[in-house]
């Protein structure tokens, strides 16, 4: 005769309890927002997410940094709890992505362009003001370029001084934007065709120096050496306009307006996209959307501005807030 011993009973109980707890929870609906996408938007998105979750009303959204393209691919895979709700992007959605989205049933998408990214190329305030083109800047900085020693080697109109540029480290968003707009924008067509990534590689023979995250230190170095240039986010330039001046790029001066209108070439809008079908289904999604566009976040003194975002102008913010409140969807083809 087999005895059903206490030990066995406990063992069986434990196993069935485990199975019982695991199985039903799988099918449960999601109560936490899922965000994927651009690594440039990631720092802003996580800041909003953390403050949003801090109140305890909703769980903090999960933010994955997959890159804009990777994020769009996940985002467009379908509607439902197993697909992400929000996709961050450092560029507008492409028509091919939109098509893919629609094909998979993701029809109503809310586009939120929450701010801009603008980068200044600056030297000390009492140094000579200069104008550069993106091609010239690329030639001065690229590993696969002519590697000139002096600016005048690139173009006779440029100053006859040694090239000395302090660049932010590769981990910074400023460097990303610089790479995207200047190193790739100023890259000769042949090289771009051959190897797009090679365009963004900076020379390591002296004139281009990595200077760390500390902008204040870079400013000190620019003041000490009038031939040196540094790369700054727009908000930093504004706060230190008594010490540094920005070069004009292709004749355009950097300013809030020129960034907001994209006349200034080293500027780009930042976006995130929301699935309308998920609003009301995933708890807190609408609230997250509204929290992102609040004045507290993206206003002139907002905490995202402290983190380096260039704000939209007042009118744009008002219309953005209205559109997000109405949950207006994208109707681009």
């Amino acid at each position: 005769m087999k005895l059903y011993t206490k030990e066995k009973a406990i063992r069986h109980g434990l196993i069935s309890a485990l199975i019982l707890t695991v199985i039903p929870t799988i099918s449960q609906a999601r109560d936490q927002i899922q965000i994927v996408g651009s690594s440039t938007v990631y720092p802003f998105s996580t800041l909003v997410a953390e403050r949003f979750g801090g109140s305890g009303k909703f769980k903090t959204p999960v933010v994955e940094s997959t890159g804009t393209g990777g994020g769009m691919k996940l985002f467009c895979q379908g509607v439902g709890a197993s697909h992400p709700d929000v996709s961050n992007a450092s560029r507008a959605i492409k028509s091919s992505e939109l098509e893919n989205c629609r094909k998979n049933g993701v029809k109503d998408i809310i586009e939120v362009s929450f701010g801009n990214d603008g980068i200044a190329f600056a030297n000390a305030i009492d140094a000579r003001p200069v104008n550069f083109t993106r091609k010239q800047l690329w030639a001065a900085m690229a590993e696969h370029g002519p590697k000139p020693a002096k600016w005048s080697d690139i173009d006779k109109s440029l100053p006859d001084t040694k090239i000395s540029i302090l660049v932010p480290p590769p981990t910074s968003g400023t460097r990303d934007a610089w790479n995207a707009k200047v190193m790739k924008g100023g890259c000769p067509a042949e090289l771009k065709k051959k190897d797009k990534k090679a365009c963004a590689i900076m020379r390591e023979d002296g004139p281009v120096v990595e200077a760390g995250e500390n902008d204040a230190l870079i400013v000190q170095k620019l003041e000490a050496n009038h031939d040196s240039f540094g790369i700054f986010g727009f908000s930093y330039l504004e706060n230190n306009s008594d010490k540094i001046q920005a070069a004009t790029i292709e004749g355009v001066e950097i300013s809030l307006e020129s960034i907001q209108s994209y006349e200034y070439p080293i500027a780009r809008p930042l976006f995130f996209y929301v699935k309308k079908a998920h609003i009301g289904v995933i708890p807190g999604l609408n609230e997250y959307l509204q929290a992102f566009v609040e004045e507290k976040a993206i206003g002139d003194d907002g905490y995202l501005i402290d983190a380096g975002l260039v704000p939209l102008d007042d009118g744009q913010r008002i219309s953005l807030r209205k559109n997000t409140k109405d949950l207006a969807v994208l109707n681009k083809q």
Binding site: T21, Q34, E50, G56, K57, T60, V62, E213, L217
Partner: protein
């Protein structure tokens, strides 16, 4: 003639002795290099990481005013969630420096305090709603810049701080008042990830790792042992079983990221398990650990002498009884060792987790295996990527935690091996 022979013999002997010595020297040299690399790594990590275990805090009075909080006298939970604790924290902190009036200066003054202040305050009010309308003394974290600067000061180091001269002067006033101290950083073990280094903790990743490994164990161990028993004890040596064997051995060497891709394609897309969860992660890691367990279990079964099986059979036991009563207990020690080594390997994986979305910013500590979570190595990777200076020490501290985990698991393997070892003689 005889003489000559002996000198040749002597020479040969000496050469052999030298060869022997040389070989030992190579061994010692190799050990020295490995040892010093390990020592360098440990010293480096411990000297950077130990600072993460203390936290700079300020003890100050908060005047919890219902009007400032913008709640009624007897607020509901809903109301409390929206209470403006930031304003209370700001007002209370500004009250310490009545001479600071300009808006710009106030902004720069409040940068000394962490977001943690308003969160702690919210928790306090939620637990003790009766404190609304009174003044309470709380100890709350200061900002990461202050934390770094103050701790460097305690260590007698000079660091380049992002704090400006004014902020340093304000901080000095607070230090002179005895309000600023350091305490053991319990937040580091209870919090999940945060964008603010002073609030970021390893707790979420630890729970995530534990769930992931638990799921991995629950799936891989029974399946692995069953497969090993079948292959060793029941299957006949056919072409098919040889192919299976060869594939299991190959599978053990497949790069882990491939299991991640498999997980994405099958576990998430076909079975629809939730993304970023230890449940999905555990299944992927189980697939990865399975070959290791099968191989370890099979070789453990092989070491059990046939005499034991034959004795069991002779006594009238069925094959199943022989296996579970006699063979497996004898093979258990090897199987468990293999399992724990497989799990320890799974503990250090990030690549397969990347594919199923566990490499993400997750600020809640998971309560169930199907809540989004990260794992320890992922957290290390994420912090190492972060630009904020405060994450440097957190990264090192997280590495210390994972090393402790690994040591504990290996220790467990040793203990289990010794406990379950059955002499076959």
């Amino acid at each position: 003639m005889h003489n000559l022979d002996s000198t040749i013999q002597q020479k040969r002997d000496r050469r052999r002795m030298f060869a022997d010595l040389r070989f030992r020297a190579y061994g010692i040299f190799g050990l020295l290099i490995a040892g010093s690399a390990l020592l360098f790594l440990l010293v480096n990590i411990f000297s950077t990481g130990y600072d993460a275990f203390r936290q700079t805090v300020i003890t100050m009075e908060f005047n919890i005013d219902a009007d400032v909080l913008d709640v009624s006298a007897m607020p509901s939970t809903e109301e409390l969630q929206e209470a403006n604790t930031l304003k209370v924290a700001k007002n209370s902190f500004y009250a310490l420096f009545p001479e600071v009036k300009k808006r710009k200066n106030k902004r720069s003054l409040y940068k000394l305090i962490s977001l943690g202040a308003e969160l702690d305050l919210r928790d306090h009010i939620r637990l003790q709603p009766e404190s609304i309308g009174s003044t309470v003394t709380l100890t709350v974290p200061m900002s990461s810049d202050v934390d770094q600067y103050f701790k460097a000061g305690l260590n007698g180091e000079e660091i380049k701080s992002r704090l400006n001269e004014k902020q340093k002067a304000w901080l000095q006033t607070l230090v002179d008042n005895g309000q600023v101290t350091t305490r053991f950083n319990t937040d580091f073990f209870t919090h999940a990830d945060s964008r603010y280094p002073e609030l970021a903790g390893i707790g979420g990743a630890m729970v995530g790792t534990m769930y992931t490994l638990l799921i991995c164990l629950l799936i891989a161990f029974p399946l692995g042992v069953a497969a090993a028993i079948y292959l060793e004890e029941f299957s006949r040596d056919t072409f098919l079983t040889r192919i299976i064997e060869a594939n299991i051995n190959n599978l053990a060497a497949v790069p882990s990221v491939i299991f991640g891709l498999l997980g994405l394609a099958v576990i998430l897309n076909v079975f629809g398990l939730p993304r970023s969860t230890p449940l999905a992660g555990g299944i992927v890691l189980a697939l990865m650990t399975l070959p290791t367990i099968i191989i370890a279990c099979r070789s453990a079964i092989k070491t059990v002498p046939p005499s034991i099986r034959e004795a069991g059979m002779a006594m009238g036991a069925s094959p199943i009884q022989v296996i579970f009563h006699h063979v497996m207990p004898a093979a258990m020690s090897g199987t468990l060792t293999g399992t724990i080594i497989g799990l320890a390997q799974a503990l250090g994986e990030t690549a397969p987790l990347l594919m199923i979305g566990m490499v993400a910013f997750i600020a809640n500590v998971p309560s169930m295996p199907n809540d989004p979570a990260t794992a320890l190595p992922v957290q290390i990777y994420l912090w190492a990527e972060s630009a904020e200076r405060g994450f440097v020490e957190k990264t090192a501290a997280a590495i210390m935690v994972i090393i402790v985990f690994l040591i504990a698991m290996n220790l467990l393997a040793v203990i289990l091996r010794n406990r379950t070892r059955i002499s076959n003689k």
